[in-house]
Amino acid sequence: MEDSDIFSLAEFCFKIIESQISDVKTADIYFEKNKYINIEIEENSIKNSEVGEDSGVSIRVINRSGALGFAYSNKLVKHSIEKVCKVALKMMKVASPDPDFKDLPTPYKDYPNVKDLYDKNLKYLQIEDSLNYINDLIEVCKEDDMAISQSGNFVSDYSKTYIFNSNGLKASKKETSCLVSSNIIVKDKISKETSSGSERQIERSLNKLNAINVAKIALEDAKQNLNRKKVRNMKVPVILTPKGSISLILRPIAAAINAEIFQYKRSFLVDKRGEKIGSDILNIEDNGLIDNAAGSQIFDDEGVPCQNKKILQNGKFLESGLLHNSYTAGKEGIESTGNASRGSYLTIPSIGITNFIMKPGDTSLEEIIKSIKRGILLNYTGDSPNISTGDFSGLILRGNLIEDGEIKDPLNETMIGINLIDLFKNVEAISKDYKIYGAFQAPWVKIRSVNVIGGEN
């Protein structure tokens, strides 16, 4: 389907909406088309090759009392789209009035110039040309005598999005992304114990992907988790790896500053606006404007330009540090921060991050590890904190004991418990080094003192 077809379909939709009910205040139409390649490996061998495409439309209509109707379909022919418009209107008629709804965005003169979010190599990628990434993964695992299996995949995705609203906003963008993931199983020849490690890399351009590196990190991760030991209860310093920092600092803050959660008072940060909630060295921002970054966007899923927003500055949670879409912003009487997020045409806009970044510190990783006589390295937990209370208690799925400044035995059946505010305030050091996982950028972080519950009686 060509751009001109989409533009005329959008006009067609607005005509139907206008002709049906005079009560409609505003409406938006979201078109999306994408195509992807996905190659999967299992048992360290290529297993499945997949190509697919999708295109769909969703229509949101809102009346003068704020009642909202929504409908979607992936049939992009005129009579189906006509039906989608009519269904959305029907849904609007039965929806609740909402005086908090102000308006959809009005057109913008300019959009920011964010470079390299689209790589035409990915748009035109053939499956044959993707295979070397898979072969790289397989080779790393094959050449290691402790590695017994690997699962993983390569994905490339091209998408084009169009947003139209009845205030005259018209915007379209094309984006690409690609991903390599690896999960490697290792077995100790003597103890017979098995363990797994995983790693992934998400990029906007193909030439940035390094599958060998991804598999090597997964392999190291797996080996570092082999021959696990139980420990006794203790109260010690904890180092969060970048993955650990994402689970315990970035993800929870991203969830807690979502203006919708905030307005429903379900966030542990509700009474903390403008207050110091963390150590002086803690700085966090949501920056959608970084060239070539996985989380960057020119505009969000309502057509609002993305921004760079400071969230935490020297430990202080800024008044302005919330992520908004047009609805939550309207409710507060401010402008949207460009964080409307749909996932796909199947959902109404909620709120999401762009690139969520913890600023690196000035200590080297070696210095941080050396500073600990006895402590814990937390690499991965499957648990997530309670966002309404900030309480966290979770199992360390991948972590190690630190003794005399060195990383030692991996941990078995070890849990930690802490309230997040205490954790933020106890941040003692942040590394210069950092890693990027998709939309998150995080360093290694030292927490002064945490309760560790060991599996040893």
Binding site: E42, E43, N44, S45, I46, K47, N48, S49, E50, V51, G52, E53, D54, G56, A67, L68, G69, F70, A71, Y72, S73, N74, V84, K90, M91, V94, A95, S96, I127, E128, N135, I148, S149, S151, I185, K187, S195, S196, R228, Y264, K265, R266, I348, G382, D383, S384, N386, S388, T389, S393, G394, L395, L397, E413, M415, G417, N451, I453, G455, N457
Partner: protein, 483 residues
Amino acid sequence: MEISDEIKQIDENLVKQLNQIANNKAEYWDIRAEINNGTSLDFTNQKSKEISSFEIANCGIRAFKNGGWGFSVLKDLKKDSIKTGLEKAIKLAVLTESLTKIKFKIAQNDPIIQNFKSKCKKEIEEIAIDDKINTVKNHEKIASNYSPYIQNTHTLYMDGHSQTLFLNSFGSKIIQDLSFVRLFCMVFANKNGIIQKSANSVAGVGGYEIVETEKAFNLSKKTAKEAIKLLNAKSPIGGKLTVIADPKLTGTIIHEAFGHACEADLVLSNESVLKGMIDQNVASEYVSIIDDPSMGQGKQFKLPYELFGSYFIDDEGIPSQKTVIIENGILKNYLNNLETSSRMNVPPNGHGRAPTSSERPQVRMGYTYLEPRDWSIEDIIEDTKDGILCEDFQYGYTDPTTGNFQFKCRSSYKIKNGEKRENMRDVSLSGMILEALNKISAIGNGKTFDYSVGMCGKGGQLVRVCDGAPYIRIENVTVGGLN
């Protein structure tokens, strides 16, 4: 059964052409063509956030050759697109085959030519949107008015109707017509800054009758009551404790901690601790675990509809059936799909599932349950000197490679000298699955047996599931909390 026009046009003539396309090039192929429609009503604090309706077409075409799979996904069901899709899938399968090290054949199965339709007392399409909205509004009202400490209410009603045509190179031609309804309530309570929540759902395969049972009517009240009760609960104690788990928590433990490790794809890829353990003792002799997603099981719970995890045939054309996983402590079977059963040289047992036709079937559970034994709940509590009674769960997960699991339950009670004492919240349990199954010291009777519904995730795909269990008691479990 009324067959939609888009499905109807995929006729014998097309099948003939598809067979010609695949001839000598693919050893196996299958096609799933699906039309989906439904409604979603999402209310928060008694106001609608989303009232929506959808219609989606999906088509997934797989081809197989000697260990290599190709998969092509399209979003229309036109004959020409399907033919091109099969050509693409075959090309991909041939390419994959040329590179794969693991070669195998797909074992031949008897073709099935049959249409299936889930029974509906009240078809969801026949119910006016206003009636559905009134149901949700009522629940919101009941929850909001339950107590002044209720801060937030959230009710989600979802219904869906899918008609899927399955064709494969064995000659199967199956139409499965399923409708489902799910009602979900979540309530947040707040007292002096302490925020607690509870959530419950009612869901099944069937029609609107699903939200008209007594259990469904009581959903919001029950959820509000639970959230309020947690406001006064204490922070948990930690350590090694005897744990009594209610059916909801036990069901989740059986599913997460054990069921996933029985999925044959994880076994083949060395990712399961249960690899090589068929016919071996993996649990105490009182433990029998079954997975049975076949239809007809709503009756035992006096439901006028089918369990949420049930289906007639799986997404590879294999009928759903009862699979004994553990019998009296001995591991009997893994859960299989077409590929794993072919490779393990066992008959397929109908566990190849995908949420939509545009996703590739994986090995999945359906309705997994632990068989009841003879303890009454009163006797289990009375027989426990020092322990903790845990109810419901917030979430849980297992590392299938190591068997290390972690569950967070919603509410717990301290047990002292056979008596239920103070209420606690946010208790987490962890351990190793094989150790835990051997430390089960009591299994409740049929009276204590109950089921729960949920959506289970694997490899980015969410499918409908159920678990069932009685109360059980496990010795010496690591219990963690904030303190």
